[in-house]
Symmetry: C2
């Protein structure tokens, strides 16, 4: 049996090499790197090979061989995922589209761009800026994350409450199916309702429906004027969360509204060699932009002061960047503490304080500290479980389970922007219900009848 398997493996790699030449990488270093993303989790074993696709034709050739030989394919972009969705293991082909990173077309008059999947989010926006345009999705990982990965995970970011999520910013996707056929989904127009919306179906499908080899992006005009930045300190996280809800309820729309709890703030101050913050204090950072930035910033300052915050306001872009740098240092600060499981629950904005209360309860019940940062403007929280070693300990999983159940009770969802991957697949049916889970599973089979696309991700067999 083992001999037959080994022979088959050799045959798959030989076929890939015959078709793709030096774009097939069987080095230990490449195969090891393809086992993991930024979730702290790695697949068991190494993939057979890493394919560095340079074209749609390369992707199609890979899929045709995979299909003919029944070999699983794990598509990878920049490998910055946080749910293990792109981790490739034993017996699998790791198909990297990172090298397909061209911008094929920018149309300022139509406010669209056509891109390959491997381009990094921040690089795309640097190239769009001279056209007076930008693509709104802005995950915290934008400097290192690919646009294709953003689409495959349905990535979010800091600006979503005001400027929308990936689903709002993609008009079409080119998709290579499991058998190598190429589909062009969606359209280049603002409106378009011809048939079922398969573009939206592919967004957030985490490599289970096909390989994204191109995308038509809906762009925005650059927002004119300077941003205004507001920082506010509150005695505790409950007060800070209630202040966020008060800002939203007042009809104010900051572009950014971030909340750092006390444990997060302490770790970041330590990392950045800043004076230790007041124990227990939580911090809000907000920005306003556009033609009403100054007026909105003033109104937000009033609301925050009225809800007990110590507020500072700056119209200086450099000072704004300095304040946001504290927020952006969250991940490195956590990495210094140990291995991190970053969670991603999302709740209705009105339930933000209630969700923080649940996190406090879980900290007490499980004797854990769970540093938490929130995209407070859209109700998306990232509680960080920190532990020693490479395997998530059982009691952390039990605490995470309580976290998910609490989010669902509050009308929320397991994952706001990171995806299910391998780390949350066992909770998927809890949120969807068995009937919907089964329908979703069957839809993946329409695209991939033999189940070679990212098996074991999202859906537990």
């Amino acid at each position: 049996m083992v001999d037959t398997e080994q022979a088959a493996t050799v045959d798959v790699v030989a076929q890939l090499v015959a078709a793709l030449g030096d774009r097939v990488d069987v080095s230990d270093a490449a195969r090891d790197a393809a086992r993991a993303d930024k979730s702290g989790h790695a697949a068991p074993g190494r993939p057979l090979a890493v394919i560095h696709a340079a074209s749609v034709a390369d992707v199609q050739a890979t899929l045709r061989i995979a299909h003919a030989t029944g070999t699983p394919v794990v598509t990878r972009g920049a490998g910055t995922g946080l749910a293990g969705g792109a981790n490739a293991g034993a017996g699998e082909i790791a198909l990297s589209v990172r090298g397909m990173d061209r911008i094929l077309e920018v149309r300022a008059d139509d406010a669209i761009a056509v891109v390959e999947p491997g381009i990094l989010n921040a690089e795309l926006n640097r190239q769009l800026a001279p056209h007076g345009l930008w693509w709104a999705p802005d995950p915290a990982s934008r400097e290192i994350a690919s646009v294709g990965g953003n689409i495959a995970t349905g990535a979010g970011g800091l600006l979503c409450a005001k400027y929308g999520v990936v689903r709002d910013a993609v008009l079409g996707v080119d998709l290579v199916l499991a058998d190598g056929r190429l589909l062009r989904l969606g359209h280049r127009t603002v409106k378009g309702v011809t048939g079922l919306d398969l573009t939206s179906l592919v967004i957030g499908s985490e490599g289970t429906l096909g390989v994204i080899v191109g995308a038509t992006l809906k762009l925005r005009r650059l927002v004119p004027g300077d941003v205004h930045t507001i920082a506010a300190t509150f005695p505790d996280v409950d007060a800070a969360a209630r202040a966020c809800s008060a800002v939203t309820a007042a009809g104010l729309q900051p572009s950014i509204m971030e909340l750092l709890d006390a444990a997060s703030l302490a770790a970041i101050h330590d990392l950045l060699d800043l004076p230790a913050p007041t124990p227990g204090a939580a911090q809000l950072t907000m920005q306003t932009d556009g033609p009403t930035a100054a007026a909105e910033a003033a109104a937000i300052t009033e609301v925050l002061a009225a809800t007990g915050g110590a507020v500072s306001l700056s119209a200086d872009p450099e000072e704004g960047e300095r304040l946001l740098r504290i927020r952006r240092s969250m991940h490195p600060a956590m990495e210094r503490l140990g291995t991190t499981l970053i969670e991603d629950v999302s709740v209705p904005r009105s339930a933000l304080a209630a969700m923080f209360a649940e996190i406090s309860r879980i900290e007490r019940d499980y004797d854990l500290v769970i540093p938490t940062v929130a995209h407070a403007g859209d109700g998306n929280l990232h509680p960080n479980f920190v532990f020693e070693g490479t395997e998530v300990p059982d009691h952390v999983w039990r605490a995470a389970d309580e976290l998910f159940q609490a989010a669902l009770r509050l009308g929320g969802t397991l994952t706001g922007e990171h995806g299910i991957g391998v780390l949350k697949r066992r909770w998927l049916a809890d949120e969807l219900g068995e009937d919907q889970w089964e329908i979703q599973r069957q839809i993946t089979r329409v695209f991939d009848p033999t189940g070679i696309l990212n098996p074991g991700k999202v859906f537990v067999s």
Copy 2:
């Protein structure tokens, strides 16, 4: 055979009456009304019965009987569709959800509303206004069209370029499947990427995946300040279309940007007893809103004047309404001319003038006048084919075929906001390609394995 069929029919109606009592309507008037929508097309024959569902349980009971007996079900809202998608014919059950018209929940703090499908769009917005909120999709039929129908067709409207389409404004959908099971799709949160995005898949699915019995809508805060209205006359439609592209390319974002060609304008002036317009002249109507309304209106006025328009600008809301009334009189003006086939192609905004040139060519080639109105801000055109009688003549279909092919050549789509229904199903594969058509068809079978949901609509068997 006929006797057996008749017996089966009697049995289905008897089962429906036993389960639903007087909510089963077998009157000739009701069954006749259910044959047609506003497309000018009617189904052959009458449906078996019209079910006036008052609850989710009614919908589930209907579907269970339909499923058990293999009887087709055509879901209807307010019956204002323009593609024949809700027309119910011989042997079918017409399931009306128009009576399910309650608003179940409004959360100003979360900017969401949970509604039943039968509520009319304009009525919803009247009830949301005291909360300082609105739902952005605004089809021209908003006073008579239901929210459920808006979702089922992926309806658009006048405000889409600035405020988005239905897909951008629905967070979740409750769906009764072909066998009567209830699924709750989507979420109540700004972000949410748990599993496949089935909410988006249902938007625009025209009754082929299930019956929409509830929706969680993403709302906006009412836009403060007065609107400014700009009207401009151009010597011909080409100049008017180029002026629209110039406004968009200048980065200006009117909330409304409508174009009426000469034939449309003449018919409307006739209807409203206004002086006849200058022969050949086309008219643009634009509105700006929000805090920068005045400045944007001034900038638009400059662009329009520079491109050769005779421009008038008003900050008076009543004058604005008067100008928009001309645009809103398009449908009644067409109805006076004869039976109308309203088309709905959408092209990239930069291709607007090119699409009008194609329409002129088709008018010449087929010796037709095709009055056309365009949502110029988003590239969506409604060419009107007017004819005598109830059946679309062959030469009109041939002209429509040329129209569709021209839109596709320009990077556009068959339908921007009306849907495929029965009227455009024969062109669906032209746009999707055979592979994608087949995958879409198979996805409908996942939701509806025996094919009882709106058979013959969208997909030609």
